[in-house]
Amino acid sequence: MTTRRERGVTYALLTLFAVLSLTPVIGILSTAFGSQGSLDTGFSLPRDGLHWGNFADAWSRGHFGTYLGNSVLVTTAVVAATTVLAVLAAYAFGVMRFPGSTPLFYLFVIGLTLPQEALVVPLYFDLRYAGLTDTYAALILPQTAQSLAFGVFWMRTYFRGSAREVIEAARIDGANSWTTLWRVLVPMGRPAISTMVVITFMWTWNEFLMALVMISDEAHRTVPLGLAFFQGQHSSDASLLAAASVLIALPVVIVYVALQRRFIEGMLGGAVKE
């Protein structure tokens, strides 16, 4: 039996931390609707009505329309490539046995802890040598490689856990390994796949360091890179900066609120070793 006091303390604590979590977010939202040109660099409340114009300004004057386009393109490519490649590889790791499969799998797992900082320097010189800096490829290919570590790890767990009888039944029905994968296991594995998709989407959308290093021309900037430069130029205009921040965060937040379970499962599962 829990006492009334215990309930009270619990809800008070939860509310306190919920407020702390939301304060910066609400501060940015509120500032985004404030009037431009206010000299306050802190958060502000929209005093004279909601200034939706800040978003239009960030979109056109801040070129966030272009940046969002780039981010959508890069993210779509990375998510698509990661999904297909990870599903294929994890399928083999999960249900087939062949010499060297374990060491090969661990090679992928290493990528979960390998920091970008240990790759970015040679990657820059390699891609510059190949003439690929300032292209979408420079954003897509390294990011796909890094996402594969999680994708292969995550999907292998799914294939490991998928029912043997199902695979067996498909085989008896005359399906080869390829048809079994795409006709049976992939449709059944939609929850696992969608977790991988949302995590990869979020990581790619928010990715900053690679973009900072690989991209110097404005035409290829992604939204986080755009915000960093925007901050350099308009750091005095808090409301415009906040509006740009909202534009960047919104897509991920919307998907997060809709698929909260998948996000949490994926982000916490990435470190859970077998």
């Binding site: 977010v25 790759l119 043997r164 916490l268």
Partner: protein, 302 residues
């Protein structure tokens, strides 16, 4: 891993094609992974043993770049900062998360989905956006100083991110904000999974909240604590975006961290070899800490 007879029998025949076909399934992923992750990492290791300015020919450096990590104060400082930041990025969030889990172990919460969504939110925001928001809060006329002045503590107000003493803890607090929700969500889920009987037994033995926490909650949460430490340590040491936007390592190098130093040296001061050595050392540090965590906390033999 329980390897039962049916599994083995299945494996011998599965999935109806030569097992070598497995290599074909792995090949595309492995190719991308090898070219854009494994190979560059190898190059990083190689670069860490040369002096190179990025333009002229590289000259062999032996262990110079690594020796500098210990000998050069400008390189020692970032690693010291990173370890101190782990208190904020990792230890504090885990401690706060445990506190909350302890408080909640006796109560079934209604509206958990709402609280979970809100508490976890900082994890999904781009760190760039987080940094912009917190720059505002910590600005000279920002929310924190305004609040201090409003409650009569105006003498404590300062430009937090520009202060030699306070910039590092200020950045740390941002990391605490990001990591706490993750720990809470992990532990709250974990606590719900601890069998109720254990709590009832503890209470029958007359255990107070503290004993109950030490005897039931803490041991029951071991796996979750290990995951929380691993995730927050990795995220904390990889932390480049926050530093770049909030302080760029300043004032002076008061908030410089290895992740920032890699970028700074390779692309701003043309010490590519040294940058690579910092990157490799950072990797080693992350590996060492994650292995330590899984040994000490999880009791795993790695």
């Amino acid at each position: 891993m329980k390897s039962t007879a049916p599994t083995r029998a299945y494996r011998r025949r599965a999935p109806g094609e030569p097992r070598a076909v497995g290599y074909l399934y792995i090949l595309p992923a492995l190719l991308v992974y090898a070219v854009f992750l494994l190979y560059p990492f190898g190059q990083s290791v190689w670069l860490s043993f040369v002096h190179w300015d990025g333009l002229t020919a590289a000259t062999p450096a032996g262990f110079d770049n690594y020796r500098d990590l210990f000998g050069d104060p400008a390189l020692r400082a970032p690693f010291a900062h990173a370890l101190l930041l782990l208190v904020f990025y990792s230890a504090l969030p885990v401690a706060i998360g445990l506190l909350l889990a302890a408080a909640m172990s006796r109560v079934r919460v209604h509206g958990m989905t709402f609280f979970r969504t809100v508490l976890f939110l900082p994890q999904v925001l781009a760190l760039i956006v987080v940094a912009v928001a917190w720059r505002s809060i910590l600005a000279p006329d920002g929310l924190l100083n305004d609040t201090l002045r409003a409650v009569g503590l105006g003498s404590l107000a300062r430009p937090w991110l520009g202060d030699y003493t306070w910039a590092l803890p200020a950045v740390g607090v941002i990391g605490t904000w990001v990591g706490t929700g993750l720990c809470m969500v992990l532990f709250l889920a974990g606590v719900q999974r601890i069998p109720r009987e254990l709590y009832e037994a503890a209470r029958m033995d007359g255990a107070g909240p503290v004993r109950e926490f030490l005897a039931v909650t803490l041991p029951g949460l071991r796996p979750q604590i290990a995951v929380a430490l691993t995730l927050t340590i990795i995220a904390g040491l990889r932390n480049f975006d926050l530093i770049y936007i909030t302080t760029s390592g300043g004032p002076g190098n008061a908030t410089s961290v290895p992740a920032y130093e890699v970028y700074h040296r390779a692309f701003e001061t043309n010490q590519v070899g040294s940058a690579a050595a910092v990157g490799v050392a950072l990797t080693v540090l992350i590996f060492a800490l994650t292995v330590t965590v899984s040994r000490l906390v999880e009791g795993r033999r790695v």
